[in-house]
């Protein structure tokens, strides 16, 4: 390109006390270019983006903005320059309207009314329809992301940074967002697109910078690459795959849920509405859905952390357990890996070995009320070895491990107890590809040994890779189940927006507001 680059990074370096997050990274983005930053979790993508957005200060290196060296002091400064960023985790106030939330981030607006009409215009112009008067807590996660995007667009950015934007969207919504992004790029806005999803990057991005361990490992034109060549740059080896044979004989019903209704403990949570499904021994059932559609509430009810009034609504191995607490449910064969690792699935401040006791105490670690520490450390050692947990020793504090290794350890702790029913929430959230593979394979192996496995995930690829049957949760309703071979990502994507037989979208088809939200081409 013959124009000045919109943004150029030279030798960007950021050193944290324990790790070099960015090691002299160079990158160039032209006006109107959609540029991918590809890397595994912990590769240093987010740190780099935060440096550009003025959230962290680089220790070394230069940022050239339209050819001029700038030192970006803070996000306000970045916005003034014309840099907008949509974060992975939203920062919206649930009790305020869309307009009020956007007003909070604007330095200059005349009145809330004019701002609201501007929001409406811009949102329709870019194909992101949104009612500015709605309260944020009533919006789905996808619509909340829209608020964040609009917040940036109103400032007419020259560079838009998007951090893993598709993890909260259905496949259909992803396609729509791509249209919006392409349009923005045509108008000259540069886009930095952070992701670890190879297919998205190949479809959308003009160019890519691949980062591994804080260093650039390659620059590529995604259109000229294959998924495996990109993966090799990203993780340094071929993409691993799970071996997944057909299910053998189905066992008896290990988890039964019938007509489970429960109002959420959280004011802005989702109520569960008449949920029924079952999981049998020897199969993996996946629950797909956009986060915030009742997954949390369902898992709390299934694990026993929030027992339900109707004792018979949940059965484990045929026993009604609705009233029972997690400990009693575990005694009946339940294993559970929650999506919050530190602070729920594991105790920060304790060692790996002591964390084994948390749920595995029933396996000979307590005798006459006293703990058998050798049993616990044997259990921990086996878990570390079998699940390739990277750590110094079983006596290390669990907080010294990376997120992926903590997840491997917790999953290992639950699987090593040979549960009849294993429930796993977001098994590979924030986990690198190698660790994700170990975790997925271990769930498949457990199924092959005759246990029932229930997986709740937002990653459709993952569900299609490991599950035998799928159901979808939307607004607290669940869809009928469908074998994986008989469906497609498109169909599940439609279901995720509530459009399944008996789903919430059917009931709401006359409501214009709802119709807008579920509007699908």
């Amino acid at each position: 390109m013959n124009t000045t680059p919109r943004l150029q990074l030279k030798g960007m370096t950021k050193i944290y006390p324990s790790v070099i997050a960015n090691d002299s990274i160079d990158m160039t983005i032209a006006p109107g270019e959609i540029h991918a930053v590809l890397g595994e979790n912990g590769a240093g993508k987010s740190t780099l983006m935060k440096a550009i957005y003025g959230v962290v200060k680089p220790d070394k290196g230069q940022i050239l903005w339209n050819g001029e060296v700038v030192s970006i002091q803070n996000p306000a400064h970045a916005r003034k320059l014309g840099i907008g960023m949509v974060f992975q985790h939203f920062s919206l106030f649930e009790t305020l309207t869309v307009t009020e939330n956007i007003a909070l981030a604007m330095d200059d607006y005349k009145s809330l009314e004019t701002l609201a009409s501007r929001i409406k215009n811009v949102s329709e112009e870019y194909g992101l329809p949104l009612d500015p008067g709605r309260l944020v807590h009533s919006l789905s996660v996808g619509l909340r992301q829209r608020v964040e995007i609009l917040r940036c667009l109103l400032q007419q950015p020259k560079l838009l940074i998007m951090d893993e934007p598709t993890s909260v969207l259905t496949p259909q919504a992803v396609r729509k967002m791509f249209e919006t992004l392409r349009r923005l790029a045509d108008e000259g806005c540069s886009i930095l697109y952070i992701s670890h999803k190879l297919d998205e990057i190949m479809e959308l991005c003009h160019s890519a910078t691949i980062i591994r361990g804080g260093r650039v490992t390659g620059y590529a034109i995604p259109a000229n690459e294959t998924a495996s060549s990109l993966a090799r740059m990203m993780i340094g080896k071929e993409l691993p795959v799970c071996s997944h044979e057909k299910p053998k004989n189905l066992g008896s019903e290990y988890l039964g849920v019938s007509n489970l209704s429960k109002s959420s403990a959280d004011q802005f949570g989702t109520n569960l509405k008449n949920i029924s499904f079952s999981v049998h021994g020897g199969e993996i059932l996946g629950i797909a859905g956009i986060s915030g559609n009742g997954q949390q509430e369902l898992l709390y009810a299934l694990s026993g952390e929030r027992p339900v009034e109707d004792n018979g609504a949940i059965t484990i191995c045929g026993d009604p357990v609705g009233h029972l607490n997690p400990d009693d449910r575990r005694n009946r064969g339940l294993g559970f890996v929650p999506e919050e690792r530190l602070g729920r699935g594991a105790v920060p401040g304790m060692s790996l070995s002591d964390n084994a006791i948390l749920t595995a105490h029933r396996h000979g670690m307590v005798k006459k009320g006293l703990l058998k520490f050798t049993k616990a450390s044997d259990f921990a050692k086996k878990c570390i070895a079998d699940f390739a947990v990277k750590c110094g020793s079983k006596d290390d504090p669990i907080t010294s491990l990376s997120g992926g290794n903590i997840q491997k350890y917790i999953t290992g702790r639950e699987i090593q107890q040979a549960p009849k029913l294993l429930i796993v929430s977001q098994p590979t959230w924030g986990v690198d590809i190698g660790a994700a593979n170990i975790i997925r394979q271990s769930m498949i192996d457990l199924r092959n040994n005759g246990s029932a496995v229930l997986v709740v995930s937002e990653e459709l690829d993952e569900l299609f890779e490991i599950c035998d049957r799928l159901i979808v949760i939307a607004e607290g309703h669940v869809s009928p189940s469908v074998p994986v071979e008989e469906t497609s990502k498109e169909e599940i994507g439609l279901w995720m927006s509530g459009m399944f037989p008996g789903g919430p979208a059917e009931a709401a088809v006359n409501e214009s507001e709802q119709g807008q939200e579920y509007h699908v081409h």
Binding site: P17, H361, G369
Partner: protein
């Protein structure tokens, strides 16, 4: 120039155990500065405060007598504190224990029997448990704040003791002084070491510390308590019964405080008085934290705290220091400990000029 406080990426583990020593050293330095400002020679003040009280066998016996209730109550409180259950009511639980134990001693004042002392200790334990079960009940049923409830019950208990000693339990032949009869020998803990006042109660307290050590560090219930304190969600996730842990956390403080109350009246005091504790129930909170909520550490910190009590008395007698001096030292110790703990987890940075431009 701006000061910025930021969390340390990796708090030092060694410093967690060294910070009580650092706090004690800083307390000492500050104390000596205060002595100097008061016009005392710091060297002789130090000697009077920290050496003289324990430079003979009798003094060491006194040290352990003072440390005994502190280590016992401190261990009991640590059980609750580890679960993030804040029993501030040990002072009142001690008073109720003393009332019930003292009542046993008074009604059996004419008889002698080996059963009287065990019965007194049992009554003290029951008293402490009863008083601690009020905040436990209110917290588990109504989610009432145990800090406020247990704290306010201290005043109720202390006034109740004063009322009884001024009234029904007053010695009828005591010329109207607000005190009970002197206990009979069968209600007094035997002195174990010639030339000191070191009594059986000190060894009961030491035994209590050992029991606490086994319970907290070796038992499954102790483990559950620690999980609940570090991450309540993890305790719920594992299915531990949080209400049960609340009861255990509050009652363990109550039972130790109640027994400590009996050991005081059956030990050095020998009767019921309007006040049976110079604030042991509060000081034990500091002891528990300085001892890192670990029974071994609590044993050591109780000795330090006892020395502050003895040093304060000695300082009053020999140096004309005000009686507030013990409280000042306790406060300095806690202040420095909290500051040291804070600085283990956080560091203070002076902002550079560049960042100041924000």
């Amino acid at each position: 120039m701006f000061i910025k406080i930021e969390p340390r990426p990796e708090p030092s583990r060694a410093m967690k155990y060294l910070s009580p020593l650092l706090a004690a050293a800083l307390m000492l330095v500050s104390g000596l500065i205060i002595f100097t400002l008061l016009g005392k020679n710091p060297a002789s003040a130090f000697h009077a405060f920290f050496i003289e009280p324990v430079n003979d066998l009798y003094g060491i016996g006194e040290l352990f007598i003072k440390a005994s209730p502190l280590m016992l109550i401190g261990t009991g409180l640590a059980v609750g504190f580890r679960a993030s259950i804040w029993n501030i009511g040990a002072e009142g639980q001690l008073a109720i224990g003393a009332i019930l134990g003292g009542y046993i001693a008074i009604i059996f004042n004419d008889s002698s029997g080996f059963f009287i002392l065990p019965l007194m200790i049992l009554a003290g334990a029951v008293g402490g448990i009863l008083w601690a079960s009020i905040p436990a009940f209110l917290k588990t049923v109504f989610n009432a704040n145990e800090i406020l409830v247990s704290l306010m019950l201290n005043y109720v208990a202390i006034l109740l003791l004063a009322m009884l000693v001024h009234g029904p339990l007053r010695d009828p032949n005591g010329y109207g002084f607000p005190q009970s009869v002197l206990f009979a020998d069968s209600a007094i803990l035997p002195v174990l070491l010639e030339g000191t006042r070191l009594h059986l109660g000190v060894f009961l307290s030491l035994a209590g510390v050992v029991v606490g050590w086994v319970f907290l560090l070796k038992s499954f219930t102790g483990y559950q308590i620690q999980v609940a304190g570090l991450a309540q969600k993890a305790a719920t996730y594992a299915g531990y019964k949080y209400k049960k842990l609340i009861w255990i956390g509050l009652l363990s403080g109550g039972v130790t405080a109640g027994i400590a109350g009996v050991l005081e009246i059956a030990g050095p005091i020998g009767q019921l008085l309007p006040s049976v504790s110079p604030g042991y129930g509060y000081a034990a909170i500091i002891v528990a934290f300085v001892g890192r909520l670990h029974p071994g550490g609590i044993f050591l910190s109780s000795l330090l705290m006892a020395l502050l009590y003895l040093g304060g008395e000695s300082g009053q007698m020999n140096l004309d220091l005000p009686s507030a001096v013990t409280g000042i030292f306790q406060g300095l110790l806690l202040f420095y400990l909290l500051a040291a703990d804070f600085l283990i987890n956080y560091r203070i940075r002076l902002n550079t000029l560049q960042q100041e431009a924000d």
